[in-house]
Amino acid sequence: MTNKREMNPEQWLSEYGDMLYRFALQRAQDSELAADLVQETLLSAWKSKDSFAGNSTVRTWLVGILKHKWIDHLRKEIRTREQAQLAEGDPTAWFDVDSGKWNHKPEQWHDDPASLCQNKQFMQVLQGCTENLPSKQQRVFAMRELQGLDSEEICKACDISSTNLHVLLHRARLGLRHCLNEHWFGGQK
């Protein structure tokens, strides 16, 4: 159910511009880049307007195009600074070789997520711990948790299998949890 009025990029800009911008900003975390992505999205939507099947809403269709734009961007960025970085953070280090038990037992974190999120110091520690992860782990973890991409999108952008992604995220979480415990939660009891 689309009419001509709906298939107009200027109309899209005024109707969906803010929504697309928020979506892009959440991922890009850079206002220039986010606005560029919105522009590219609207232009390529216009170019491929005949492919709009009408079985989704214009909104969903535009978001789909924006997602592709973002994945393309990530791919390019990764390609430009891709180096072979293997053997990052062996997870066996977290567990005892003989017993298979935790080397440092995870403890309870008492603070609730909302107050942690508001706590500037905590967020700084969290950022520091995230930045300390081995670079591949850091990259996929940031895509997953900071940008909010889903597994499938990350696999496409990084050209890795979902198994590979799960391993990287698992290692990232082990490392991050440990770092936070050392630098933030460890003191409280």
Binding site: P9, E10, L13, G17, D18, L20, Y21, R22, F23, L25, Q26, Q29, S31, A35, V38, Q39, L42, L43, W46, P91, T92, W94, F95, S99, G100, K101, W102, K105, P106, E107, Q108, W109, D112, P113, A114, L116, C117, M123, L126, E145, L146, Q147, G148, S151, S162, L165, H166, L169, H170, R173, L174, L176, R177, L180, N181
Partner: protein, 85 residues
Amino acid sequence: MKHACERISQLASQQLERKLNLSERVSMFVHFLMCGACKQYNQNILKLRQVFELKRDEMVNDVKLPELKRNDIQKVIRSHLEQQD
């Protein structure tokens, strides 16, 4: 079952990425009954996930496409539309 904790921590991470099957969920549940450390690990990473979700929402809450950018995009669109005519 030597490396049970490693396996369980792996599942705990994977539940944030995909739907676990029944036997995976059962093995986590049963393991948590016996192992406080893994149970805490699970809660820790769930909590972290929530922190990140809140942060992402907060970041774009009420954000609008800046007027200047909007005008720029509008100009580009118009020039494209004119080329088509």
